[in-house]
Amino acid sequence: MIIRVTPDHPIPSSEITPEGVYQNRRDFVKEAGLLGVGLAATLSGARTAKAQQGGTSIGGAELKGELTPEEDVTSYNNFYEFGTGKDDPKPNAKNFRTKPWTVKVEGMVAKPATYNIEDFLKPHKLEDRIYRHRCVEAWSMVIPWMGFPMSDLIKRVEPTASAKYIQFTTALDPQQMPGVRFPVLDWPYVEGLRLDEAMHPLAMMVVGVYGKMLPNQNGAPLRHIVPWKYGFKSCKSIVSIKFTDKQPATAWAVATPNEYGFFANVNPEVDHPRWTQARERRIGELRRRDTLMFNGYTQVASLYSGMDLRRNF
């Protein structure tokens, strides 16, 4: 799969999003404007640039005919902070306040700081990417995300030489998150990656989906996506990004270590103890399909050369 950034897009964005969504772009820019002038400028700038380019392509362009309907992407969610039912997050996150929002960059980093989300996003050029999304529960989607490479962020904040891992933390607010009142997980939700995984061009910081700002239930205002790993590896509604030399104690690996590992690479040969991972059901399809190694993103294989992926599941 090829990723091309905004200036080279060979396919108009109208082709990668359904027309209705495409026409919502104005609303999106308006909405972005509410976030702050800086962000609005970035977003509309990026959008305009793309529109002017005419022919543009995005990462995963070969998937564009397979997009999962937006209704499914934004109503079938695992976001336990807002309830454990997959239809809970949408209603329960409706009034979640994402403005103002701050993101803390901390740990082994040259430039630790706490940013307003507007300032945090400002330097980054947004791009669209269509990724396969494979949940550990053996269902999958194809989702048009909008965001920027995680590597751009990492380069920008300059981790020190001793940093080996990046750790993300989701917001924790019992007032607004009914799901955290019951200790389903050891809140807050923490996820993490090895730094070389995080630097891979496929790893992405995400602010939008389907051409719009992330809905709350999808992890507004900032989440990340690692398309070759199971969905739970990506943190939603991120408030902290920490660089560390110790492997982060990630939420699911802490909760059920025999079922969820730190790596959680999509792997059809390593079953979940309670179900097979060999096949998956794409949302909207009746029949199951075969699950692909690394969710089809085999270009990441070199990150794990020499590793026993059965043990490091």
Binding site: E71, D72, S75, Y76, Y80, T84, K86, D87, E137, W139, F182, V184, L185, A255, T256, P273, R274, W275, T276, R281, I283, G284, L286, R287, R288
Partner: protein, 234 residues
């Protein structure tokens, strides 16, 4: 409709039915068919919703209707099993002996939901893949237990007719049908192990099950004491 006399015989088959107070109230004849019809509503709903999701592209059963229908029917199987097991305590507490026939009714309805649950799992979820079924049953304890819970209900469903009660005799029939307790326990454990992290609902089911067992234990103990007292008095 079954004669009340026969149902009382069932209730007293364990030799303790004499405790049930004689009843002035007779339920109207339409009550039983109404209860059966009401019990089928969840099934009718899930069948309709499934059809609608597939054909009309609705999302009544979320974005994953097969999984949702599978979970939905499994939960209803358990709920009716719990209701079935609550009949006896209820009968004793409020003294309504005619309730006894509802044990069989709810047991059969629970079995029906469990069969649909299994059908969705095997037919739609794992798509009739025998290898997957065997692997699941052998390697995955919660499926082993769930399957066992269902299999144990098969002889109970078969012998649920009046003919079989006569053929086996009350004593044997009652003894055989104590298997339903095992099914109930296995079913709740199956549910507990199947959920990912949020165990509140299975724990609630377990609590209800424990309460109905606790009541039986308490009642049996009291009854034994009473009999000993009676024996002493003689």
């Amino acid at each position: 409709m079954t004669a009340v006399g026969e149902e009382s015989a069932l209730a007293s088959a364990d030799g303790r039915g004499s405790r049930a107070r004689p009843q002035g109230f007779r339920p109207p004849g339409w009550l039983h068919p109404l209860v059966v019809a009401a019990s089928i509503i969840p099934f009718v709903w899930v069948a309709y919703a499934f059809y609608s999701d597939l054909v009309n592209n609705t999302r009544l059963l979320t974005s994953e209707p097969i999984k949702e229908a599978e979970h939905f029917t499994g939960k209803w199987a358990l709920r009716f099993l719990l209701v079935c097991l609550a009949v006896t305590p209820l009968m004793r507490i409020i003294g309504l002996g005619w309730l006894v026939k509802y044990r069989r009714t709810f047991g059969l309805i629970a079995f029906g939901y469990a069969v649909v649950h299994l059908g969705i799992y095997f037919g739609l979820d794992i798509e009739l893949m025998w290898s997957n079924l065997v692997e699941d049953v052998l390697d995955r304890l919660y499926i082993t237990l769930g399957m066992l819970a269902l299999l144990l209900m098969v002889p109970l469903a078969i012998t649920s007719t009046k003919g079989w009660i006569k053929r086996l005799g009350n004593k044997k029939w009652n003894a055989l049908h104590r298997l339903v307790y095992v099914s109930g326990v296995l079913g709740v454990i199956h549910f507990y192990m199947a959920v990912k992290r949020d165990v509140r609902e299975p724990l609630l089911y377990g609590a209800i099950l424990a309460a109905s067992f606790g009541y039986r234990w308490f009642w049996n103990r009291r009854e034994t004491q009473r009999r000993q007292m009676t024996a002493l008095a003689r």
